[in-house]
Amino acid sequence: MSADDSSRAGIERLYEQHGRVLLAYACSFVHSVAEGEDIVHQVFARLLRGDVAITGLPLAYLCRAVRNTALNQRRSWQREAAFEEEARWLEAPAGMEESAIAIERGMSLLPTDQREVVILHVWGGLTFSEIADALSISANTAASRYRYALGKLREVLKPLGEM
């Protein structure tokens, strides 16, 4: 973590930069976008208060923090995690709303470990090696989860004529 990232402005900049992908990632573990936002806010509030400090690649660290917070939160909420189809976490370009819903539905059908790799690679821009570091898995595992996930998404998107 650079000295700049540890400042208040630096943390706010990280929020601006990675807030979207972190929200999508948080939504992998909870029922709604509102709950996902709560989790992301908790992670950044701890950083702003100086309770914790980022180590290594910021996005990888933030993903781990979101994951841990979400899993802890989920235990305290005592609810089963389910990626809600109703959770509108994607913004669609004009005229592509139906496809966005189909993607959200397809993502909701993926196992959590595949879904998180897709989010981090496609929208987070992390390489498989960086994902492996963030999730404590091997790069090969990350890559194979990704390919399985894309295969399933393709099946979901086929009826729309997107594939």
């Binding site: 709560d38 908790q42 950044f44 702003l48 208060r49 994607l90 966005a100 929208w123 894309l150 393709r154």
Partner: protein, 126 residues
């Protein structure tokens, strides 16, 4: 590598995750993070506190209404030896006695409307 993978990736990247709501910086500074869930809980608690305060105010006002007027001691409200609490008890237990006590007490605490010299008596004249 599946030849469809780049197409699927391209399709997915046409969409972007929605942005989260603004970071509650003031809450973070104060050491308390009020996320949407916590904020809703706080609002609910505040709402119930308001209801409790309103109920307490209503009870206080009702109590004032039953408080005897200044200068009228509780002992004298229902005549000698009978307090307001005694009278409340008589409402259910012995209405006839209560009626008799009130009639007796009214001679001392209410204006005499039948006396032609009283203010109310004069006002009542056509």
């Amino acid at each position: 590598m599946d030849q469809d993978e780049p197409r699927i990736e391209t399709l997915l990247r046409q969409f972007q995750p929605r942005a989260p709501r603004a970071l509650p910086l003031a809450a973070a500074d104060s050491g308390h993070v009020a996320g949407g869930r916590d904020q809703r809980r706080t609002m609910r608690v505040g709402g119930w506190a308001g209801v409790a305060a309103a109920a307490a105010a209503a009870m206080f006002a009702a109590n004032l209404r039953f408080t005897p007027m200044a200068g009228l001691a509780p002992e004298t409200a229902g005549g000698p030896g009978l307090t307001l609490n005694d009278m409340r008890g008589l409402v259910d237990a012995d209405p006839a006695t209560l009626d008799r006590v009130l009639m007796e007490a009214s001679k001392h605490v209410l204006p005499d409307v039948e006396s032609p010299d009283s203010v109310l008596g004069r006002l009542a004249q056509p």
